[in-house]
Amino acid sequence: MSLDKATVARIARLARVSLPEKDLAPLAEELSGILTWIEQLGEVNTDGVAPMTSVVGHALHHREDQVTDGNCRNDVLANAPESTDGYFVVPKVVE
């Protein structure tokens, strides 16, 4: 699989990472190299094989449906780059 610059720009947008135009071509080449190497997986016959969903296969625990955490608003906000009146602050999204 070879990725072109437009595809790299599209997945960068999906991943919310801005990339300068000059990085697109070298990244396209690098990612194409990695994907070409990965594509050997296509030669494995997986007909009738179930995809792995749990590596150790143990049953999940049940617990009482009780509140075990909370009342820690200041802790939650303590690392925020910007907060006001108990809220996270982000750039305006509604005009």
């Binding site: 990472v17 494995v44 179930a50 995809p51 590596v55 690392n79 925020a80 750039p91």
Partner: protein, 495 residues
């Protein structure tokens, strides 16, 4: 004259503390002093001397009353992937610079409960993505080991490279690591120490910065197999906060050591004999086989037919999970923020500035393989191959009790040597990744030196939740190898 206090093994220090032949404060001071003289290694990103002193005072009080936990008074270092309450936790990334967790990871909380003394946080590849420690925002760690007659800096391996270097240079008695594709075992092999990746689910992942959630597992890095057994017991355990942390009894791992391996069946997987593996790696492997045979084990050739697909499957599964896990770094709740007028612009600018090249590469690959139209061809196919890899191991367990392989295909390489070729870097994990894909416990034990005087490791892989056999076989290898080499402390002249 007895050895310096920081050169003791964890087990020796524990016994001396228990007998009050040394105090936790003396032991802690010896390590803090060694750390001060080792700045050139760049093994630590945070040093917590005040905390260490306070911990040591508390431990001496408990020990004085004949009390204390499994690690009472033992100075340890913590990989910076573990969240530690009120102490900077960055995962080696610029995007988490200044982050002070308001909570403590379960594994470290378990260790403090058992009396461990915290020396500081260790350097690592950014978000644990790397095999050389060169992707850390805080600069590469230098391997304490150098090749004979060659003073060039070598990588300590990664991603737990700071922990590995700190243990190898006797800056701590043990350190935590995490292993997603080999990040405990490969640096352990590169620095001549012991590294144990437990079974997936043995240690809680709660409070460990997530990389690939279905693969990540915490484990001990120490100078001896016994030390790893002691430390794992303190780290492990069920945790209601991590649904994948299994509620099974934690054995006294130390009791497994010294048990004979007579009659134990050790598998040698044919597919690990890869063309191009250096002769000295193959010879070391053969030597390991001979040691176990001599100790009475039965050697059995086994086949794990899907071995060669483990690494490419890993490079779909791990980036896919990472791209999802790392979506949380958005400049809103914690960490770095690059302000823009528009919200999406702010996300994009923050993430562009906060993530390094390798992390971006993996986020892009992960986003691509999960994107519409490609999911079946990549992600679903990789998860099916993963089932086949796990089946290979399951079949092997019908014939054998553990597997013996080399840990890495080479010894520590030079800093900068592989930075331009991502796939060449990924190939370093070729022998370690399969155990992660199948969730199995595996240990790396230092077993010899390369022709250039650099350490080499052997790996033992066991059945799920059978860390005891892994430790038992590792212990036999350790005794047979009698690896007592230590790196010459060149770094002390540079601090």
């Amino acid at each position: 004259m007895s050895a310096a206090l920081n050169d003791l093994s964890l087990a020796e220090a524990r016994d001396m503390l228990g007998a009050r032949e040394v105090s936790a404060q003396e032991l802690t001071d010896a390590h803090l002093e060694a750390m001060q003289g080792a700045g050139a290694l760049n093994a630590f990103v945070v040093e917590t001397a005040d905390r260490a002193h306070a911990d040591a005072v508390r431990s001496d009080e408990r020990l004085g009353k004949g009390e204390g936990g499994i690690l009472e008074g033992i100075p340890v270092a913590i990989k910076d992937l573990f969240c530690t309450q009120g102490i900077s936790s960055t995962a080696g990334s610029h995007i988490l610079e200044g982050f002070l967790p308001p909570y403590e990871s379960t594994v470290t909380a378990n260790m403090w409960r058992e009396g461990a003394v915290m020396l500081g946080k260790t350097n690592m590849d950014e978000f644990a993505m790397g095999s050389s420690n060169e992707t850390s925002f805080y600069g590469p760690v230098r391997n304490p080991w150098r090749a004979n007659g060659d003073d060039r800096d070598r990588v300590p391996g990664g991603s737990s490279g700071g922990s590995a270097a700190a243990v190898a240079a006797s800056l701590c008695l043990g350190a935590t690591g995490t292993d997603t594709g080999g990040s405990i075992r490969q640096p352990a092999a590169f620095t001549g120490i012991v590294g144990l990746k437990p079974t997936y689910g043995r240690c809680s992942r709660w409070g460990i910065v997530a990389f690939a959630s279905s693969l990540d597992q915490a484990g001990p890095m120490t100078r001896t197999v016994r030390d790893a057994a002691i430390m794992l017991r303190a780290m492990a355990g069920h945790d209601p906060k991590d649904s994948t942390a299994v509620d099974v009894a934690i054995p006294d791992y130390e009791a497994a050591l010294g048990r004979s391996v007579k009659g134990l069946r050790i598998g040698i997987p044919a597919e690990y004999r890869i063309d191009g593996t250096p002769g000295e790696i193959v010879e070391l492997w053969d030597e390991g086989i001979a040691w176990l045979k001599e100790a009475g084990a039965e050697i059995v050739e086994v086949s794990l037919p899907h071995t060669k697909y483990a690494l490419p499957a890993y490079y779909i599964v791990a980036p896919a999970e990472a791209s999802s896990n790392l979506a949380r770094y958005d400049g809103v709740r914690y960490g770095l923020r690059h302000d823009r007028d528009d919200l999406t612009d702010m996300y994009e600018a923050t993430r562009a500035a906060g993530f390094g090249a390798e992390v971006k590469r993996r986020i892009l690959i992960g986003t691509y393989v999960l994107s519409a139209g490609y999911y079946d061809a990549y992600y679903l196919q990789a998860q099916k191959v993963r089932t086949l890899i796990a089946d290979d191991f399951r079949n092997a367990w019908n014939k054998v009790d553990a597997l013996l392989t080399p840990t890495t295909p080479e010894s520590a390489f030079g800093i900068g040597e592989k930075s331009d070729d991502p796939v060449a870097m990924y190939l370093n994990d070729i022998f370690t990744v399969p155990a992660n894909m199948a969730g199995l416990p595996a240990i790396s034990v230092p077993a010899g030196l390369s022709a250039h005087g650099l350490p080499l490791g052997l790996q033992v892989v066991g059945r799920a939740f059978d860390e005891e056999t892994v430790l038992q076989v590792g212990h036999v290898l350790e005794r047979a190898a009698a690896f007592d080499h230590r790196p010459a402390p060149w770094w002390r002249d540079q601090s």
